[in-house]
Amino acid sequence: MTATCPPFPFAPRPILLALGLSALSACAQAPSADGVSDPLEPVNRGVHAVNKGLDTVIVRPASKAYGTVVPGPVRQGVSNVADTLDLPGVVVNQVLQARIGEATTNTLRLAVNATAGIGGLFDVASVLGMPKTDADFGQTLAVWGVGEGPYVELPIEGPSTARDTVGLVVDLAMNPLNNVFDGNDADATLAIEGLSRLNDRYRYSDTIDSILYDSADSYAQLRLLYLQNRRHEIAKAKGGTGGEDGDFIDPYEEDFIDPYAD
């Protein structure tokens, strides 16, 4: 957790201020002992209940229908197109984070998959040894030194933080494709994105069901998983191995009864 607030080394400050980042920098707010800052918990829990209800009534059944009716290769093709459509935004963020190697690879991925991959239907680039890497503006802000701020669960979108919510809005606003597609094409890209998410919901249904429906407290479990995984990704984006950052819990040194005492 970023406890201090270093200046943003590459960021044009007026833009950041215009985005209202100063409001969410959370510098003054120390994280609690378990590394979770959730002052909005009552509101978040309400949103979580609605999200969970939406999943139960709409998303989960729809993903089951999609996964059962539509053959796997077709679903994969749709998801590949969605991934390809995401690439311009990913490249922008990787450049902003000075991850030039990955930005270059992703630019090549875009070129190869859009052409040889027939408009992104086939992920030829991965076969050719150009691995997919991801980036978003919330991550970019983190690399620039912005703290994550309080946890928020967003309607429909799900777990996030104040910083990542700003990132999400910026990603939507600065998506280079906004200027490419309009009208029916824009609707089609939205549909593709939606189907890709349904496919994710279907493929990882065991995992997601176990969190949402088998946990004693699905809200707390989801919050923990999101924050830990997110911090790990950010540590990696910053160039770390992702292994050092507060992962270590020493059960042997905690203030518990020693089970080996006798």
Partner: protein
């Protein structure tokens, strides 16, 4: 739910995939673990797991096999106490004992359910290093149709044997997750450890 979050989960695949692979670590001498030894042991464990999964037995029949792996190679008493959290301090000895037993079965069923996702997969150890008072083994899991993801094993010999006490998959920490879950279950029972034990036996 968030698309990015979901794909993050996919790589993590929760904790189920590697639990029994960690099992192999238990047999090693104190901090004399080499990359090659760990790799060989984990490969062997993965082969054993696949044998169980592909045995054609029902999931319910597989649980005892996974429970045995867990009991042999993980420091179950320590993991159980950590999961129980502060309540472990006030619980009686008998309560702790029955909790530990119930927890071991519960964990084996919970993660055993996820082992079918492991069919056709493998784990490769890429490194091992001493950190603070324990040993961290770093590995990469390759599952069919998934991007490879990182699995870290925390191993200690403080129990007198080399046993693993935590697994971290793409940053997600098993002990922390278990503590949240068991804490929530205990809250539902208003702190009654005996009632919690009964819930665990049924879960």
């Amino acid at each position: 739910m968030s698309g990015t979050f979901v794909s993050g989960l996919s790589r993590r695949h929760f904790l189920g995939t590697g639990l029994a692979a960690a099992a192999a670590l238990g047999a090693m001498p104190a901090f004399a673990l080499s990359d090659a030894e760990a790799r060989a042991l984990i490969d062997k464990a993965v082969a054993d797991i696949n044998a169980i999964i592909n045995s054609g037995r029902s999931e319910a029949q597989m649980y005892p096999a996974f429970e045995k792996l867990f009991a042999t190679y993980a420091d179950v008493p320590q993991i159980a106490r950590s999961a129980l959290g502060p309540a472990a301090k006030t619980a009686s000895k008998a309560q702790l004992q029955s909790f530990t037993t119930a927890y071991q079965g519960y964990v084996s069923r919970k993660y055993g359910r996820r082992f079918r996702e492991f069919i056709g997969g493998r784990i490769e150890v890429t490194g091992a290093r001493p950190v603070k008072s324990y040993f961290e083994v770093i590995s990469t899991a390759y599952l069919k149709g998934e991007s490879p993801f990182e699995v870290r094993w925390h191993v200690s010999n403080k129990s007198g044997k080399n046993l693993f006490f935590n697994i971290i998959i793409e940053g997600v920490n098993m002990l922390a997750s278990e503590r949240t879950e068991i804490g929530a279950m205990l809250d539902k029972r208003k702190g009654d450890v005996d009632a919690l034990v009964q819930d665990l036996q049924r879960a």
